[in-house]
Amino acid sequence: MLQFMFRRLIGAVITLFFIITLTFVLMSAIPGDPFTSDARVPEQVLDNLRDHYGLNDPIMVQYFKYLKGALFLDFGPSIKWDNQTVNELIATGFPVSAILGIQALAIAIFFGILLGIIAAFNHNKSFDYMAMIIAILGLSVPSFIFATILINFFAIKLQWFPVATWGTWQHSILPSIALAVAPMAYIARLTRSSILEVLSMDYIQTALAKGVTGYRFIIVHVLRNALIPVVTILGPITATILTGSFVIEQIFGIPGLGKYFVEGISDRDYPLILGTSFFYSAILVFFVILVDIAYGVIDPRIKLIKGRD
């Protein structure tokens, strides 16, 4: 187990290195720089600014500076918001995205698996159809429409929740739901199909033949195997939700990481883009490893240390 963890850790570092390098290449290739603007800024001033932020340095110098930043987890000051460092921006943005994400994830996992189980064990009965119609509806409405409908109904008409911005727990309810709906529906569908498949497996049938029934059977034999595909997608879903669906953050005016990332791109705030995408990637890689470990825990048949076949 330890050896496996160590190997994955090395792998993760290599992965991260490639990701941040590619991000840097892509970012440098986008036209425009932080000081591209319509304002009447004399060339001389622009040059001063570019000097100040090291944008006139050779590209390799900039790259190594950035690598160093990634190594020491210090990305320097943001260019747009020159009174704040990228680390500060991440430190203020991430908790917001995280609270939102955890709530959304909890909703998505709980209701998704629940719906999937209900549907699968009522295969082709009305419960199945109902659960799946809910799931399909959830997947059919783009999140920006769903969010707007939620705002219109619950915030403007009923005035149960604030329309937007961040602060109290009431502020987080609507965006959490809006963020949760699509993954919930996805999890529900995957759970259902997976359970149905597991139910048809030989060993389950053997167990059934032996007369094993009841909740214990469902949990021990069926769910444990059925949730593998679900766990597979959980990693990426978690990371995506967690680092903030920028669409939801944009609509609800939430000061999360996703919003900073998008604004960073449109402002060409290089340190901010690099910092947030590094952070984002690190979380993603972390969850990929977590999923691999989770595989092993759920299904001991998969060897953690994959020897030669």
């Binding site: 990701i19 139910l199 595909p229 995408s277 076949d309």
Partner: protein
């Protein structure tokens, strides 16, 4: 169709029979699957809807005397009527015509994305899982790298480096879209490749592609098909989200994505038909692909065979 518990008790032996069948008579396996699918009314409805949508996307714009881009500013925001069946948008363009041109674009994006997803993703994930060891390690690292890249950045970049347009959107989606499929397939195959029947074939000297295509992939078909049925609308969605960020298909072209994002404001202003039609057809497409996917899964899964 029978409910699960029934079949569990009555078909204990089917699994084993099946393996033999799928090894020796794969042609009749697909034939059987087709028969089973045909009997599934819901799935066939879904299939019919998809065919219908494709046909309409081809002939729809020609049914009415308006082109998708022809404006009549004085007739803007008209509700559905005999003249304009789906009403008009804020530039006075016929929404019926635009909806079907939008269908063309959206379905094209959706289907292209899925084709790429499936081909690349299934092969990649399948080979990685089957080979295992170093190969798996390297292949999955590449997947992780692609997964970790900020997609928005790639999309903006591609929109700039290439001309913003349909092809760019497809490239941007395809560049990273298949990795989800690859991960899913790998997970499934990892689970299956330890099964007795695969080991048996291996012992009997079955090659990589033989085992992959005859045994592993058909057996992993359930989750793959579910994922396929979701990637079509998923891609349609992704385009809609890009539209929301102002990076959708270039105007005056329409897609369901651009139409919904343009129509979003009508939730506030009341010309709700501008949002309703594209949103309705996105949902219908979603529904159709889903029930078809379910039907296919049931039909293809050897162990559910009667």
């Amino acid at each position: 169709m029978q409910s699960v518990p029934d079949h569990l008790f009555s078909k204990k032996q089917s699994g084993l029979n099946n393996q033999k069948l799928s090894l020796k008579k794969s042609r009749s396996f697909w034939k059987d699957a087709f028969y089973r699918l045909r009997e599934n009314k819901l799935a066939m409805t879904g299939f019919g809807i998809i065919i219908g949508l494709i046909i309409m996307s081809i002939i729809g714009p020609f049914i009415v005397p308006y082109s998708y881009s022809e404006q009549s500013l004085l007739d803007s925001n008209l509700p559905p009527s005999l003249n304009h069946w789906f009403g008009t948008d804020d530039l006075g363009r016929d929404l019926f015509s635009r909806t079907w041109v939008g269908a063309r674009i959206s379905l094209f994006i959706g289907i292209t994305a899925v084709v790429i997803d499936v081909i690349v993703g299934v092969l990649w994930g399948g080979i990685a899982a089957y080979k295992g060891g170093k190969t798996d390690e390297i292949m999955m690292r590449i997947v992780d790298i692609l997964y970790g890249l900020p997609h928005l950045l790639i999309t903006i970049l591609l929109m700039v480096v290439l001309e913003p347009g349909l092809l760019t959107i497809i490239i941007a989606m395809a560049a990273t879209g298949w990795v989800g499929m690859a991960r899913l397939v790998r997970g499934e195959i990892l689970r299956l490749k330890e099964s007795e029947f695969v080991l048996a074939t291996k012992v009997m000297g079955g090659g990589l592609f033989r085992i992959l295509f005859k045994q592993l992939i058909p057996n992993a078909m359930g989750p793959i098909i579910i994922s396929i049925t979701l990637s079509v609308p998923g891609a349609i969605f992704a385009e809609a989200t890009l539209s929301f960020l102002g990076l959708g298909v270039p105007v005056p072209l329409a897609s369901w994505g651009t139409m919904t994002s343009e129509g979003l404001v009508t939730l506030l202003t009341g010309e709700i038909w501008r949002l309703f039609f594209p949103a309705f057809f996105i949902s219908l497409t979603m529904f159709a692909f889903n029930v078809l996917g379910d039907g296919l899964r049931d039909a293809l899964d050897p162990k559910l065979k009667r």
